[in-house]
Symmetry: C2
Subunit: 375 residues, 2 copies
């Protein structure tokens, strides 16, 4: 049995190249984690997810606790077996989605009660129950329950939520106990206030976690604010633990965050965008719904290492998207996940070579040049 | 360039084992053709369709003429290139779906005018235009335009539609001309009237086609009626040409029709049923929406040669179906298409061995025994 570990292999400025060791395999960092919301990365077979280069996927505690239910997943052998993904899984605490999806939410010191958006059934999520659920799912990386608020917000509100999250972090740590095969990550809150963020990070450090997430970003604030907070927060985090920026993001967000010392990302964006006909590529975002692609025999990118970017014409993909064919969602989700993995793989190589700034500049320049000229 | 050919390799009673040769590869008969409605077999990559054992897929002229348009597909290199399926494609004439899907239809001796169900645009389909569209799509097996009516129907109405279909068959034959790389199939009509069916078959034979389809079945009549009509019709068809039962069907329909001398089938049923949570298997139909599967760790069929039937638990598939996850549609479409191919492959082997009746009886006995007992 391999215990959870983090090895910092190289740095380039603030950017870090690392390796997370888990009993289910290594995670190369910087890492992008595809989101397997309800036990599936949408429109993808697990082996296709792996083939894009993903070392780890994320599971959503909120969705899974409601359906099929954590005890049921445990009885069926855990989430890995359930979805046929044998590599590491990180589960969120469920808190974020309770606040964004559930009905009749009521937050107290104890936790949060709510009703399911699926069938209206009543549920409670406390720091202890969140740990229990994530353990039942057999998660490899467990997240503490926190309270994430939208920005902009009043300082007093950011402080209240940050302090509550710290107390929940302490309860999460106690409930988690000693589980060397699993990791528990704390979550830095504090909105866009440097002082609150520093207090949050200090509080979490003194509790002690296996990794540190930055929460409460990408919740409505400008990218510049997110980067400024990261500039302030990452120096407050232990060098020898992985750093995870939750719910981020677009490719440009990831490049900027890697430059600021972030190791891990997750976001539904690549799969969701794919289902809506948007493709990420070295040319930037391509909207395949656009009529300019209707007669275009060219593939997305004939130089891409990804077969799906070379074998299908833009005209065909346009047709699939316009016809709302499932195959369109399948292909475009795959293309986007593969591009995200290509991006973090490129970042990893560049950090090792000490050329991350060049990599970031070249990548951004490609996006800025934009798509192929219209035929 | 291989010219279209049909070789009868073995017979067992009325059941036939054959090989259709085309310039894009052979088709082993009895053959089931997955339906690639609008340029995609729904929820399946083309290589997955091939991996199930399919030698040929069907494309729908009605859908493709409306979107993306036959001239556009031709400009993009034809339907094979468009959907990345390099093996044979059969296209229907468009007539059946005009009558079932289009708006403001008007049928005359010339053809049928209608409005698109997608955008209301006006279109005309004549025997000549149908051949032209199918040629633009670069179809390997082209179907004549016919008029297919629902059963039960008045004899006079069945006769009128049959006679019109014969005249349209003649015009289709003339429009098709001499294209040795492509085949043109005529379509027997005549409802459930033996005399009309015999006149239709005789008329088509005297025109001369590369293959003969039986149309106007599986349109509301009992299975016994369909089998009775097949008993009457197949002896009227040339022995040395393939016979295609259009739009059929369920596994049990195919077994019965193979016993009556049919070589080719197509149906949307396996993919559509998969999208609705129904799985075909040696245990018969399994409704994965049913709560009995909610906690069932067993796979669909641990003895299946199909990986998807062994690797995922029924509980997981139940979860995907209930959650309306795209992966559910993907897996269940694959399972059903693979089972259909397993069935025709079994029929082919049995006919070669002279044991088709045993194969049919054993297969039906398995369906009759039903699904695994509830855990």
């Amino acid at each position: 049995m391999t215990e959870f570990s983090f090895t910092l292999l190289a740095t380039d400025g603030m950017a870090r190249r690392g390796r997370i060791g888990t009993s289910r395999g290594d995670i190369r960092t910087p890492a992008f984690m595809p989101v397997g919301t309800a036990g599936t990365v949408k429109a993808m077979y697990p082996e296709q997810v792996r083939a894009t280069g993903a070392d780890i996927v994320l599971g959503n505690t909120y969705h899974l606790m409601l359906r099929p239910g954590a005890e049921r997943v445990a009885a069926l052998g855990g989430l890995h077996r359930f979805m046929d993904w044998e590599r590491p899984i990180l589960t969120d605490s469920g808190g974020f989605q309770v606040m964004s999806l559930a009905k009749l939410r009521k937050l107290t010191e104890t936790g949060v009660t709510f009703r399911s958006h699926i069938d209206g059934s009543a549920h409670e999520l406390t720091p202890e129950r969140s740990i229990e659920i994530q353990t039942l799912l057999d998660s490899d990386i467990v997240m503490q329950l926190d309270e994430c608020i939208a920005l902009p917000a009043e300082t007093s509100e950011m402080e209240r939520a940050m302090e509550l999250s710290l107390r929940w972090g302490e309860r999460s740590r106690a409930a988690f106990g000693h589980q060397p095969r699993r990791a528990l990550f704390g979550i830095v809150q504090g909105g866009d206030d440097p002082g609150l963020r520093a207090r949050s990070a200090a509080g979490l450090r003194s509790i002690g976690f296996d990794g540190y997430a930055v929460g409460g970003l990408a919740v409505g604030e400008p990218q510049a604010t997110m980067f400024r907070v990261l500039d302030e927060v990452t120096p407050e985090l232990p060098v020898d633990r992985p750093r995870y920026l939750m719910g981020v993001g677009k490719p440009d967000d990831m490049i900027g965050a890697i430059a600021r010392g972030v190791d891990m990302f997750d976001c539904v964006h690549p799969t969701r965008a794919g289902r809506h006909g948007h493709v990420y590529s070295r040319f930037g975002v391509i909207n395949l719904k656009n009529a300019r692609h209707r007669d275009d025999p060219r593939p997305i990118d004939e130089q891409s290492p990804n077969d799906n970017c070379r074998r299908f014409s833009r005209a065909y993909l346009h047709h699939l998207v316009r016809s709302e064919e499932i195959l369109g969602a399948m292909i475009l989700s795959q293309i986007n996940l593969a591009y995200y993995q290509e991006l973090v793989a490129g970042a990893r190589s560049a950090i090792e070579a000490g050329t991350f700034n060049d990599f970031a500049a070249e990548t951004r320049a490609g996006w800025a040049r934009g798509d192929l000229p219209v035929l």
